[in-house]
Symmetry: C2
Subunit: 460 residues, 2 copies
């Protein structure tokens, strides 16, 4: 990643902050931090030492931009900068932030400390936090902001503009104005632009869009992200069952969700849980998260051990057969990972045409067969040349060649079929590409190899 003008400018800020910090030039440092954009400060924090971070956070703590700063800061650094503060100091900071940001931060602490901090908050702030906590993790309710503009549909454009001016700074990203009826139910939406483009006496209800997309507080954040991506909205209203607006979800939060979901999918595909904060966890917690997935591959390995063990007599005759195990397993495993990744991500992004599934599977299987023929031929040829002193070099070559073909064919079949099958059953296809499929492919590949060897080579 080459340094560009923006990064160069951030680097200049970084050096300046470091220099002022070393010189202990407090007032100049304070002023510099104050006029630096919170997002740029968050970037600078990545490159500071632990010590510098803790001291410099003391300045930021007192600034207006602290919420934006904490929002943008790498999660890995959150526990660290709060490390030497006590619960009441942390609760003061969290109280000054929007409730949904406070909840996000609370969750980077262990449960005990989080409870402590929560208890130290004012009743009002605590209630707000509890209101957010009431919704499930990863739901729209957790994500929504309570700062939005809702005007009665019977207002005129002129009245709406004047109300807007009265509360102008209260809303986050006030680009949409929601309209409500006398019972507080949402009935329409219009953009700020429309306010400007229509004559002052026009009524909102005559210019508002009545066909709008909304979600409920229980909607999964992944679905919210999907809707915003598809419809290109900058914010979505969250309505309760009575059609009253509970909050809005803005596009900047959706972007974070999209990154988070991509991370979760990658982790699931690698069999490493699905918690994007795994890097923040202690070694032992990480072991606990990652252990079960490895158990699948351990059990698979033990299966392979028994399979190979049962062919001991054949191996005794030609011990060289053992040497081909890695290449046959590896070729199946790697082509299978390619296939399952392409299919799983394709389902997530709409690149897989999920109506014409059989043609998708057929294509993957064809690829497996073509690759299997090429790499099988290559291995067979190499074997024939290399091991010509063996009793039946042609049969050995044929055995390993066919085994590569078989393992690559089976790998593509299993790795394309299982994710699609899981998706059809409403399960998450990402899980399937983890150790389960890999292990299944390993076992079938090894079994196929020994069966082929038994029939072709050992009887020859």
């Amino acid at each position: 990643m080459p340094l560009d003008s923006q990064q160069v400018r951030a680097s200049i800020t970084l050096s300046a902050i470091r220099r002022l910090y070393r010189r202990n030039a407090r007032i100049t440092l304070y002023k510099l931090i104050e006029k630096t954009h919170p997002a740029k400060m968050a970037w600078v924090f990545r490159y500071l030492s632990r010590h510098e971070r803790r001291d410099i956070f003391k300045y930021i703590q007192r600034m207006d931009g602290i919420g934006d700063f904490l929002d943008e800061l790498d999660h890995a650094l959150i526990p660290e900068i709060f490390e030497d503060m006590d619960a009441s100091e942390i609760s003061d900071i969290l109280s000054s932030l929007p409730a949904e940001t406070a909840v996000e931060l609370l969750e980077s602490f262990t449960d005990n400390i989080a409870d402590d901090i929560r208890n130290k908050m004012d009743a009002k702030d605590r209630d707000e936090v509890d209101e957010v906590l009431k919704y499930e993790d990863d739901s729209a309710g957790r994500l929504m902001s309570h700062e939005f503009m809702a005007f009665n549909e019977s207002l005129s454009v002129k009245e709406a503009i004047s109300q807007f001016q009265d509360m102008g700074n209260a809303a986050e990203m006030p680009f949409y104005i929601y309209t409500i009826d006398s019972k507080q139910r949402m009935v329409g939406v219009l953009s700020l632009r429309q306010l400007l483009l229509h004559p002052p006496e026009t009524l909102l209800k005559d210019i508002m869009e009545r066909d709008f997309v909304f979600v409920s507080p229980e909607t999964d954040q992944e679905e919210v992200a999907q809707l915003v991506t598809e419809y290109n909205y900058l914010a979505l209203p969250v309505l309760n069952s009575g059609n009253v607006i509970e909050g809005i979800i803005t596009v900047d939060d959706v972007i974070d969700v999209i990154r988070e979901e991509a991370t979760e999918d990658m982790l699931k595909m690698a069999g490493a849980g699905e918690d994007e904060d795994i890097l923040l966890k202690s070694t032992l917690e990480s072991v606990k998260t990652r252990f079960p997935w490895l158990l699948a591959s351990w059990l698979g390995g033990v299966c392979a051990l028994w399979i190979i063990g049962s062919y001991e007599t054949m191996l005794q005759q030609t011990v060289l057969l053992a040497a081909f195990i890695p290449v046959i397993m590896g070729m199946g495993g790697n082509v299978g990972t390619q296939t399952s990744t392409i299919i799983v991500r394709g389902i997530a992004t709409g690149h897989v045409n999920i109506v014409e599934i059989s043609s998708v599977i057929m294509k993957e299987v064809s690829i497996g067969v073509i690759m299997g023929v090429i790499y099988g031929l290559l291995l067979g040829l190499l074997t024939y040349v290399q091991y010509s002193q063996i009793g039946a070099p042609l049969m050995l070559a044929l055995t390993v060649g066919l085994s590569v073909l078989f393992s690559m064919f089976i790998a593509c079949l299993v790795a394309s079929f299982i994710p699609i099958f899981l998706y059809k059953l409403d399960f998450d296809p990402a899980i399937s590409t983890g150790p389960f499929v890999t292990t299944a492919i390993d076992i079938i590949g090894v079994l196929g190899y020994f069966i082929i060897a038994q029939n072709l080579f050992s009887t020859s």
Copy 2:
């Protein structure tokens, strides 16, 4: 993924469209399609048959929303719906779209057909397309829209609002107003909200933000996405070297980039190239893209073949040793995939604290050692019980246990070190987790196993 209200509503549209299509109720069908949001239509298209799609596209073709529809349509379906149109018909459709959308669509055709379509365009439209094509793929220049509002900084709020009203519908997402000086250079930015909040006589230059973030047409789209994510902007201006605004990049395009980059990273990690359109490619093109990555694992397999082959005498004595190859390789491979995925994604999302790298690597290595001890003990125990009739069951158990420990330790070391090392050298860490690292781990794991066996078991 449970069906929610939005999807239920889209499903109702889908059934209605199908019904009207079957009944050949053209006018009603036309009206229904016309009032359906283009994004919802794109969703409906996923579930139509090839035949239905082609016929129904004939209706959409004549509608205003066609650009938005094609923008949202799954890429997999693009070539299909244009299949039976000739170049001049396609060029008519593309000419009606913004140049950057036209270029995106052009790229889903083969070069020959794309050239044909381009040649059939009017000189003016072709020039616009060529203007976009002038920039490299994945650059800001390719992504930017030319519809934006730039007003002279010396205008008053009142004058700006009146100009805004004159050109209100010309700009895409007109939430920011850019200010320029008399030489057309960008000097500031303000939001539509600020226009509404300030008295009519205020000059733009007195309320505009002078410290703004921008990119150049050559900036990589990944960096654009990073900036928008960090700074929470809804659009970024693209300035040429003379500080003149060439276009703007809006957040909806950035969301597409974020998804695309995540897909690319996943494909790279799986050793399946980096082209998210791989699913649209023919079988042979896919083979060509995926082939080289598999070559790495084939060569690695051949290495393992030679290594194991060189221990033939030892294997001859205890052929059972061969049966442990899969479990030792598998445990190293899977824990390594976990580690590299966590590290690569952590670097991409800022979860890895890239200043304190040694502690990150130390943690991964500790996890490898803990997992290695547990799974090594399990395998050793199983081996000791299962193969007690063997000459030296304890030594065999010790050999396989230690080998699991060694392969898991090496896997975590290699899989955490290499991505960080590549990142420091300004290479893309995602490539490293592909077949190269996996293959390296396989070879070292197998070699370690045979060295341990030679020293512990075979001499015992």
